[in-house]
């Protein structure tokens, strides 16, 4: 029996922690491999020839969701949102092979719709228009090597490290970020106002505007997804330093969590690190 191996393996790890201050953890995260296996029972075909016809057989879902504190059931919102995305991706696994442009847009549209459905469900379950629905952020990547599809709502983040440089793939969807973008506030002003942290877009929130993107990864690149419990306490420079370490994804993730807790741990924190490792 010949099994066709993926040319790149994905080293991924994630964890969550309630931090040192909050009584409960309203974050949720998921790291999942979705496999479509082709086992050739007998044949004379070379695996090298087949790999180009069959394409990749594995997709990887990475997602962090930060339930909005101060509102009702933030943990329920974050869990339901992450679970809904996983459920969609799991059921759609057959579509991952050799996505052409149209199917790629279909996939992104379906992912957005999945998030939109959860958003509508959360809103529909509140008893009156004056009651806030459970709400959450969502930052998710569907990685079908080498392409990483990104859907982002709220102020959790995704970063990519390439050629020694870490760059944010997401922009926080907060009131402060919008004010700074519009040139109405300076970054210093945004740091001073508590309203700056208010989410301008959230699943279950009064507004929900997913941002969609993608990037083609290269061997050696790293992806890092996190909730704001990390970025409140750990600088971009430190994130860059940790992602540059010659260690596995688990060690990177645990190191970043330790940094967040040592820095105060004032919020729930969830972190996922994933990197493509050469065959």
């Amino acid at each position: 029996m010949t099994t066709i191996a993926a040319p790149i393996s994905i080293d991924a790890f994630g964890l969550t922690d309630k931090g040192k201050v909050r009584p409960t953890n309203e974050d949720h995260f998921v790291v999942a491999d979705i496999n479509r296996t082709v086992d050739i029972r007998w044949g004379s075909l070379s695996p090298d020839a087949l790999i180009n016809r069959i394409g990749t057989n594995t997709a990887h879902l990475l997602a962090v969701a930060d339930g909005v504190g101060g509102g009702p059931d933030g943990d329920v919102a974050s869990e339901r949102t992450a679970a809904a995305v996983l459920s969609y991706v799991g059921s759609a696994a057959v579509c991952f092979n050799e996505l052409d442009t149209d199917r790629e847009h279909e996939l992104l549209g379906a992912l957005e719709n999945t998030v939109l459905e959860v958003h509508r469900e959360l809103l529909s379950e509140v008893s009156s228009p004056n009651v806030k629905a459970p709400a959450t952020t969502l930052t998710m990547v569907l990685l079908i090597w080498p392409r990483a599809y990104l859907i982002h709502v709220g102020d959790s983040r995704a970063y990519v490290r390439r050629r020694g440089r870490v760059q944010a793939m997401t922009r926080d969807q907060t009131f402060g970020e919008y004010m700074v973008s519009a040139g109405a506030w300076s970054e210093d002003q945004a740091m001073k106002f508590r309203t700056a942290e208010t989410l301008a877009s959230a699943v279950g929130g009064s507004e929900m505007t997913p941002s969609v993107g993608l990037i083609d990864l290269e061997p050696g690149d790293s992806l890092m997804l996190c909730t704001d419990g990390l970025t409140k306490h750990v600088t971009n420079e430190r994130i860059e330093e940790v992602l540059a370490m010659a260690v596995d994804a688990r060690t990177m993730t645990e190191t970043l969590l330790a940094d967040a807790l040592n820095g105060g741990g004032t919020d729930n924190v969830s972190i996922i690190v994933a990197r493509g490792v050469g065959s």
Binding site: T101, D102, R147, R171, A182, G183, V212, G213, L214, D216
Partner: protein, 168 residues
């Protein structure tokens, strides 16, 4: 509904993201944040009575060392080459970039956006540059993401041209 993939390409910091933001969300941000990978926005337009969804792929800017990723432009129906009118070097490389892309996707409708037209004091391009684009049979317009000048017209022209190209 018909869907058309439009790619925004050009050197870094020419205003590709700002043009999309102006066109889709009617907003302008003076702050520069470089795009990583591709940001995708969607806008529904009407072209000669037909509803069309434009899928706007805002590609990270070319930095001189790295070519446009061919897999990002695969399947594109139209291209917008964004040039910063206050930086001559962003125009000097535009035809090279276009050539490398058309070698991947073939001849597809494309428009040149001479962007930042509001910065008239710093403008470095000439009528001869616009003529050079037109002479190649390409569409050229001065645009300003800040004021909105030429933005709607550029996207609408391209949407129309992509439908003409496919005969839809």
């Amino acid at each position: 509904m018909l869907q058309k993939k439009i790619c925004m390409v050009g050197m870094f910091a020419t205003g590709k993201t700002c043009l999309v933001q102006r066109y889709v969300h009617s907003i302008f941000s003076p702050r520069y944040l470089s795009t990583v990978g591709v940001k995708i926005d969607r806008k529904e337009v009407n072209v000669r009575g037909e509803p069309v969804t434009l899928l706007l792929w805002d590609l990270e800017g070319r930095d001189g060392n790295h070519d446009v990723n061919p897999s990002y432009v695969r399947g594109a129906h139209g291209l917008i080459f964004v040039v910063d009118g206050t930086r001559r070097d962003t125009f000097d490389q535009a035809f090279d970039i276009r050539e490398s892309i058309t070698s991947q996707v073939g001849e597809i409708p494309c428009a040149f956006a001479f962007n930042k037209a509001d910065l008239t004091d710093e403008w470095q391009l000439t009528q001869a540059d616009e003529d050079a684009v037109s002479a190649r049979g390409l569409h050229v317009l001065r645009t300003s993401a800040k004021s909105g000048t030429g933005v709607e017209e550029t996207f609408q022209w391209l949407a129309d041209a992509t439908l003409q190209k496919t005969g839809a």
